[in-house]
């Protein structure tokens, strides 16, 4: 029963709080609860009953038409008594893409898979030098491995790991491209998708915090083996330090894997909810900043090359780059202020 209450709460969350809407909420809840009770007495299980009630609920947009149009009709009463299905007045803004529950689910599942692949790639990159370190250490310490063997196998492993990692990045990035629009473009979620995304976002927040904490702690603790090995070994050079370094690499690699998988998961929820940097407002200013950038940087390059060739003072003219970088921050900031005040005036 609470599931049903929560379902309705979510659907009505973003609607204005008027008397008509509150009444609608109460009545719809009552109808759903009556249906639920009857299904239970018919012998359906809890899950079955809830599932049936929710699937037969319908679309909240039907109500929108009734309740919003109702306000308009009160102002301009028509003489006819017949019911007219008035069309919803669309606002003057561009129609936004609507994302359904299915699409949102696909997105989150694809993100999870994608993040794991990327994490694997990064793990390989981070651990790519380990064989080299290990064999190099063995060679240095007790000569059990020749220099050529150490270098050969170590470097071989390094390159193979990195190649594999890069291949993973490329293949998966291409497969994930179809979801880029969620990050870049503005959109609207339908009700089912909105309540789905909202719940995931909230339930994942504590898990996310916990995971990041674990990762950070691992990074901090990763140096302890090396310190201990150094202390224990003292003046003697032995394999302990090498092993400690390998352990450090492993811990860091694992921590980064956690950052990547948890971070991307959380990011995907934020993107669906259009929070923070993914909010429509931010997306607009990002567009604007990119436009400014596309003019700004070529101009800077032209100035740099022009002055440098004319004066030959390459040793000084490089200064233009850090200056231009900081200045761009100012230009972009001004651009944001102008565009947001222009919007307010509209």
């Amino acid at each position: 029963m609470d599931t049903i209450k929560m379902y309705i709460e979510n659907l009505f969350r973003n609607l204005p709080e008027t008397e008509a809407i509150a009444r609608a909420k109460e009545e719809l809840l009552a109808m759903m609860e009556d249906k639920y009770s009857e299904l239970k007495t018919e012998g359906k299980s809890e899950n079955e009953a809830i599932g049936i009630v929710i699937s037969e609920f319908g679309n909240i947009d039907e109500l929108r038409e009734e309740l919003e149009i109702g306000k308009q009709q009160q102002e301009s009463k028509t003489a006819s008594g017949t019911t007219t299905e008035s069309k919803n007045e669309k606002s003057a803004e561009k129609p936004l893409k609507v994302i359904s529950l299915a699409e949102a689910e696909n997105f989150t599942e694809a993100t999870v898979k994608f993040s794991k692949k990327i994490a694997l790639g990064v793990f390989l990159c981070i651990t790519s030098p380990v064989l080299l370190i290990l064999l190099g250490g063995l060679h240095e310490m007790d000569g059990s491995v020749s220099e050529k063997t150490a270098a050969g196998f170590g470097i071989l492993y390094l390159f193979v790991s990195i190649a594999f990692a890069v291949a993973t990045f490329i293949i998966n990035a291409v497969m994930f491209e179809r979801y880029e629009y969620i990050k870049k473009e503005k959109f609207v979620l339908d009700e089912a998708a909105a309540s789905y995304a909202g719940e995931l976002r909230e339930s994942y927040a504590p898990v996310f915090a916990r995971n990041i904490t674990i990762g950070v702690v691992m990074c901090i603790l990763s140096v302890i083996p090396v310190i201990c090995a150094g202390v224990v070994s003292g003046e003697n050079e032995n394999m302990l330090v090498v092993y400690a370094v390998l352990v450090m690499f492993a811990m860091i690699a694992i921590a980064v894997t956690i950052f990547i998988t948890s971070g991307m998961k959380m990011d995907s929820y934020k993107q669906l909810m259009q929070e923070g940097e993914y909010s429509p407002v931010e997306k607009e200013s990002t567009d604007f900043t990119e436009k400014i950038g596309s003019v700004y940087w070529p101009v800077i390059v032209a100035i740099y090359l022009g002055v440098s060739f004319l004066t030959g003072a390459w040793g000084i003219t490089w200064i233009i780059w850090p200056v231009a970088g900081v200045l761009f921050g100012a230009v972009a900031g001004i651009g944001k202020i102008i565009s947001s005040s222009a919007k307010e005036r509209r």
Binding site: M31, D34, E65, T83
Partner: protein
């Protein structure tokens, strides 16, 4: 199962029929629609509530609160005179529509 598009114009008529027959409340009306159609039409809660709101706004039905024995406060609906004549109108419209459309139907 009937598509909601096909039946949209006649939801009001169906609901009025039941309310004219007997004053009733939300879920009971939904249940009667399902039972009388032998499961072929299951009306959505949102569709039903929108229809109630619309019919009441246009003066076809009135709502009142009744107390059930298990303590729940239920909204009951009853028909008005305007509602009855609107119902009759819609019945006539359907009979005409059915007759016209039937001329274009091939019974396979």
């Amino acid at each position: 199962m009937i598509s909601s598009d096909g039946i949209r114009g006649y939801n009001d008529m169906i609901i009025l029929y039941l309310i004219i027959r007997q004053e009733s409340y939300g879920y009971e009306i939904s249940k009667q629609i399902r039972d009388l159609s032998e499961g072929k039409y299951v009306i959505k809660e949102t569709t039903l509530y929108s229809a109630f709101t619309r019919l009441e706004k246009n003066g076809m039905i009135n709502s009142y609160f009744g107390d059930e024995t298990n303590g729940k406060r239920r909204t009951y609906y009853k028909v008005t005179e305007a509602g009855k004549s609107y119902y009759a109108e819609k019945c006539g419209e359907w009979i005409l529509t059915k007759e016209v459309v039937d001329r274009f139907v091939i019974n396979v």
